[in-house]
Symmetry: C2
Subunit: 372 residues, 2 copies
């Protein structure tokens, strides 16, 4: 009776003429061994005689057997799936990050479950989903997480790693570029290029990244006794950034240097400055970005921007994650990976401090100019 009952249930679910996936039990029967023998054959460190292994393997390939990972993860308690939450893939920097993450994780035999949230939105509702799927870990790319839920993750033992964002909550590791120092560096660079009227185009105030970049920039300018930057909002989108730039350039006294919290906004600003105001960006107006996305290097922009080393950030994040999944949680807290100011043509050059590194021109503050 049993098989019939099962088949009936099955038929109700898959109304078509499908052979349902073959189970370990079936392989066992076909090979004349026990089901546990089959399991052992497919478990890396298990002890099976060569004969049994051969029999099982033969039967398995004959029947087209593939172990059901869902079932095994139910019992082992680990799914080897990690959730990746990202505010959309339209921003090339995020796309690059997720791409690298996906590759790194699959190299470590983890699968990626992708969640696209919205910019500035909390990851909370998504996280609820994630908790239901019993994922092994969670990576938050440029996404926020309420401390309540962060806590809950800690309680449940779900390792959380934030990438390109940080948080106050302990038990949540984070990997970011050096936003503060990078922004300060840009400040110095612009100062050295004798700019006077600065503007900072923010991303989202809810993002620690944008706040840190603003703080670093502002502080450096203040230290140098310059006029603090005017702050405008670009929302990390080209539409808003374009509008903001338009306003800026329509004003009677224009800024002579705009630092945008990311490359996308910087390129949008360049587009507006060049095509709507006919400005020669790099001579009449300096624009600097942050991230060093692929497009920043293209001849169409040649954007001066602070590089965020995607590979390094990803390696770090994955290392932390893997450690955490294995119970070693040594590395909680913030991790900062350094970057460089990559100098191209979108901002006026300072007289000194330029050097060549790996085919790129970078700027470093010379010793005597150094402030901190």
């Amino acid at each position: 009776m049993k098989p019939f009952a099962i088949d009936d249930i099955f038929e109700k679910r898959r109304p078509r003429e499908f052979r349902r996936p073959v189970t370990g039990h079936e392989v066992a029967r076909s090979a004349g061994v026990s089901q546990s023998a089959v399991s052992r054959v497919f478990t890396p460190g298990a002890s099976v005689s060569v004969q049994t292994r051969a029999k099982v393997l033969a039967a398995a390939t004959k029947l087209g057997y593939r172990p059901n990972l869902i079932a095994s993860s139910l019992i082992t308690g680990r799914s080897r799936i990690v959730g990746v939450v990202v505010p959309g893939l339209r921003n090339p920097f995020y796309a690059a990050l997720v791409d690298a993450l996906s590759e790194a994780l699959s190299g470590r035999d983890y699968r990626v479950m992708l969640f696209t949230a919205w910019h500035g939105t909390s990851a909370d509702p998504i996280l609820d989903e994630i908790l239901r799927y019993r994922l092994d870990a969670l990576i938050l790319v440029s996404a926020e997480l309420s401390s309540r839920l962060a806590e809950e993750c800690g309680e449940v033992g779900l390792p959380v790693v934030m990438v390109n964002r940080k948080t106050d909550s302990e038990a949540v590791s984070s990997v970011t570029g050096d936003n503060r120092a990078g922004a300060a560096c840009i400040g110095s660079f612009l100062l050295a290029g004798s700019h006077r009227r600065f503007v900072f185009m923010a991303g989202l105030d809810s993002s620690s990244t944008s706040r840190d970049r603003e703080a670093g920039f502002r502080e450096r300018l203040l230290q140098a006794g310059a006029v603090p930057p005017l702050k405008v909002h670009g929302s990390y989108t080209v539409e808003v950034a374009s509008r903001a730039t338009r306003e800026l350039l329509k004003a009677r006294t224009r800024p002579d240097a705009i630092f945008c919290a990311n490359d996308q906004m910087a390129m949008a600003a360049m587009d507006v400055a060049r095509s709507e105001f006919g400005l020669d960006v790099g001579r009449e107006l300096s624009i600097v970005g942050f991230d060093d996305t692929q497009l920043a290097a293209s001849p169409a922009y040649r954007l001066t921007t602070f590089s965020q080393p995607v590979e390094k950030m990803v390696d770090n994040a994955v290392a932390i994650l893997v450690d955490a999944c294995n119970g070693r949680d040594l590395s909680t807290g913030p991790h900062i990976v350094g970057g460089r100011l990559v100098v191209r043509d979108s901002a006026r050059l300072p007289p000194r401090g330029l050097s060549q590194v790996g085919g790129r021109t970078v700027w470093t503050q010379s010793a005597k100019q150094s402030i901190d």
Copy 2:
């Protein structure tokens, strides 16, 4: 004894002081009901009395219960996870596609498991993974799949939808833009703009998309009695496309029109033509792309390109997929969604045929010029 044994096992796996996720059984005990009552409360269409529901919900929130979707999918046979295979996210067109797919699927209550393969590589090894996870369906974005495995998917009842690629195999649905017609349209457009020396920059010959675009372009040129296009290889990458363009423009007799199989290559070609050869693209040399990615519209490129309606493709793909997951497999085979030639400044304009649609300039072949 039992709980101890379980706890021991648990401790071995999660070496830290974690409370393991609470189970439905625990909620049941705390609420003074049966475990199935708990299950019913969390099953949409089940009948539970208000009192029980209240008791269960109270206990559940108190304990922080979240149903284990892994366990439930083991028994229902559906995971509500679909695999999405894509050759990297660095190509903005793919990123946009995956982004839209992710959003559309999460709207239908499906989760996305992301696999990044490599361009031109078969999805086969990845698919093996996928089969082990018992995903509900598979979406192949611009990725190939051997017919052997496609068949195997059919046998197992795993619905497969290819997006931006097609295949000969039945039982595999595909959604593509109208590559052939689009390429033919570009041919006519270029002809009407009185170009003479054409080149087609291919993506990968293994991609049906590139082949279709080539065929459509070539045929149209031939029909018109023009010299067939010279074919060069761009591999869908900016490096190779740049090199190819360089070679092309170094030659004694330059082409006057280059049709690139995608926007990325077209923009790479523009970069080389402008910055290395000082050419005025759109006057001295015409370059046309395919996809109409976001960047194509930017003032820095203003690329003339055939639009692929991402939203429409995604809606189609998701609809097919959802149908298939529910056993209705009416829509297998190829689906083609149309596009338009979006005219901007990277190619010389023909005297007639231009019109405004939704704020964009598009080109349509006038009746008397029409050939097929």
